[in-house]
């Protein structure tokens, strides 16, 4: 690569923040980072911080596989978790669109599994009993929230229940914009 081209890339890279695909590639190592993004990351502290944060999150999800007591050990489950994380990163950059739509079902299942785990932690075996039939429905997250919302609202209060529901719906990309 000539020195002229290198300078041109550096100048361009300074101006344009890379897309989420480049950031994901840089954070996870799963894919090639474009040259422009590499030059940008060398100079942009904010993007470097974001990549570092994404890398930490990625490693945390990968660590889920090591937890023997959690239901994330199967390959499919892990894949759904990773897709859910990528979905969350997509949503952060507001570049979701068709990419997220394609992954929606997997994302829904991943979020539903997490919500079921949370309901069990909060409501014990009652939570597990209420979540299980809902997990098989087409929109499992919404079904779970519908079945447990009133109960959670009584014992945790309205604010905490709304917070939990919003978190679940946001991950599935179905939360109402406020």
């Amino acid at each position: 690569m000539t020195e002229h081209l290198r300078r041109l890339l550096a100048r361009l890279g300074r101006r344009t923040h890379p897309g989420v695909e480049d950031l994901i590639a840089a954070a996870t190592g799963a894919g090639e980072v474009s040259l422009l993004a590499v030059y940008h990351l060398e100079r942009c502290v904010r993007c470097r911080q974001r990549v570092a944060s994404m890398r930490r999150q990625w490693e945390e999800v990968l660590q889920l596989t090591a937890l023997s007591s959690e239901p994330w050990r199967s390959r499919d489950a892990l894949l759904e978790e990773l897709l859910a994380l990528i979905g969350a990163w997509d949503a952060e950059t507001s570049a979701a669109g068709p990419a997220l739509a394609a992954r929606r079902q997997a994302v829904h299942r991943a979020v539903a599994r997490r919500l079921a785990g949370e309901l069990e932690a909060q409501l014990g075996r009652l939570g597990a009993a209420l979540a299980e039939p809902a997990r098989r429905q087409e929109a499992p997250v919404q079904a779970m929230l519908a079945r447990t919302g009133h109960l959670l609202s009584t014992f945790l209060g309205y604010k905490a229940t709304v917070r939990l529901s919003q978190a679940a719906l946001k991950l599935t990309g179905t939360a109402h914009k406020r």
């Binding site: 945790l156 209060g157 905490a160």
Partner: protein
């Protein structure tokens, strides 16, 4: 491992209570080994007083945090308000009775008002015992009633089993005996009925009501077994059950039904009562913290 799988706050409460009880056991061994009563007296007066006061503070702070998480119109907001007020009464009561007024030493710690004043007590000690005992119980009872009603509304009310009825019947018999002994003692000693002693007479009937509430609440909480919310109300049930045990133990020794040596384990029951009362709101706060954290692991959210 001790308390494995429990939230951090509960583990801390469990460890603190466990270490305190071990310290108590050590004091007891030193007392019986050396014959020097200063060991156990010092433990009850200083470590015991500090423990119940510190745990009442923890209970109050956590109950207040739980209350503040509820909005106006939430079903359990009034219940948490009453629980916070009960915790405040216990904190103020223990501060008055344990910090500002020396305890009676080897007669054992007194953590609840009683109608028969076995020993002369300083006025602030009497006020403290009244606040930490009957006043706190008076506030706790409607709170547990509200929680019971909330369970009922969701069709989760717990039905008492034969064993519960047996426990209730036995406790009723013993508590009626306790009250009757208090009346007899008062008549025999011609002691005037002041506010402190009047509140002391309230303790037994109140505990009976609370015991019924605690047993039904425990059955209801079992429908959520393993969950933080169920464990919160199970902790309150345990606190009430232990209070009943503590009161009955104290009564049986005071009136000479059992030898004084039996009183020793009863001293330690009061520390478990404090730990259970602190564990209740700790579970609720943990449930709220989890719900507010969302669904991702801590580093992601």
């Amino acid at each position: 491992m001790f308390l494995r799988g429990e939230p951090d706050s509960i583990r801390r409460i469990g460890w603190a209570a466990g270490l305190h009880l071990l310290l108590g056991l050590l004091a007891l061994l030193l007392w019986s080994g050396t014959g020097e009563a200063a060991w156990i007296r010092g433990y009850l007066r200083y470590a015991g007083g500090a423990f119940v006061t510190a745990f009442a503070l923890v209970e109050f702070v956590l109950a207040l945090r739980a209350f503040r998480a509820f909005s106006r119109g939430d079903a359990l907001r009034p219940a948490w308000l009453l629980i916070s007020a009960a915790a405040a009464a216990r904190l103020l009561g223990f501060t008055l009775s344990e910090v500002f007024s020396p305890g009676p030493g080897l007669q054992g710690p007194r953590f609840i008002a009683q109608p028969a004043p076995w020993l002369p007590l300083a006025p602030q000690h009497r006020i403290g015992l009244a606040l930490a005992g009957p006043v706190a119980l008076l506030l706790l009872s409607p709170a547990l009633a509200l929680v019971g009603r909330a369970y009922d509304r969701h069709g989760l009310s717990g039905e008492l089993r034969p064993l519960d009825w047996l426990a209730l019947g036995l406790a009723s018999f013993l508590m009626v005996s306790d009250t009757w002994d208090g009346i007899r003692w008062s008549l025999a000693h011609e002691v005037p009925l002041d506010l402190y002693r009047g509140l002391g007479f309230l303790v037994e009937p109140l505990l009976l009501v609370l015991l019924f509430q605690a047993l039904t609440l425990r059955r209801a909480a079992l429908t959520m077994a393993g969950g933080l919310i169920g464990r919160c109300w199970s902790a309150y049930s345990a606190a009430v059950l232990l209070t009943v045990v503590g009161c009955l133990g104290q009564w049986s020794v005071n009136y000479g039904y059992v030898p004084r040596a039996v009183l020793v384990p009863v001293w330690y029951v009061w520390f478990l009562v404090s730990a259970a009362f602190a564990a209740g709101p700790a579970y609720q706060v943990e449930a709220l913290r989890r719900a507010q954290r969302g669904l991702l692991p801590p580093a992601i959210s």
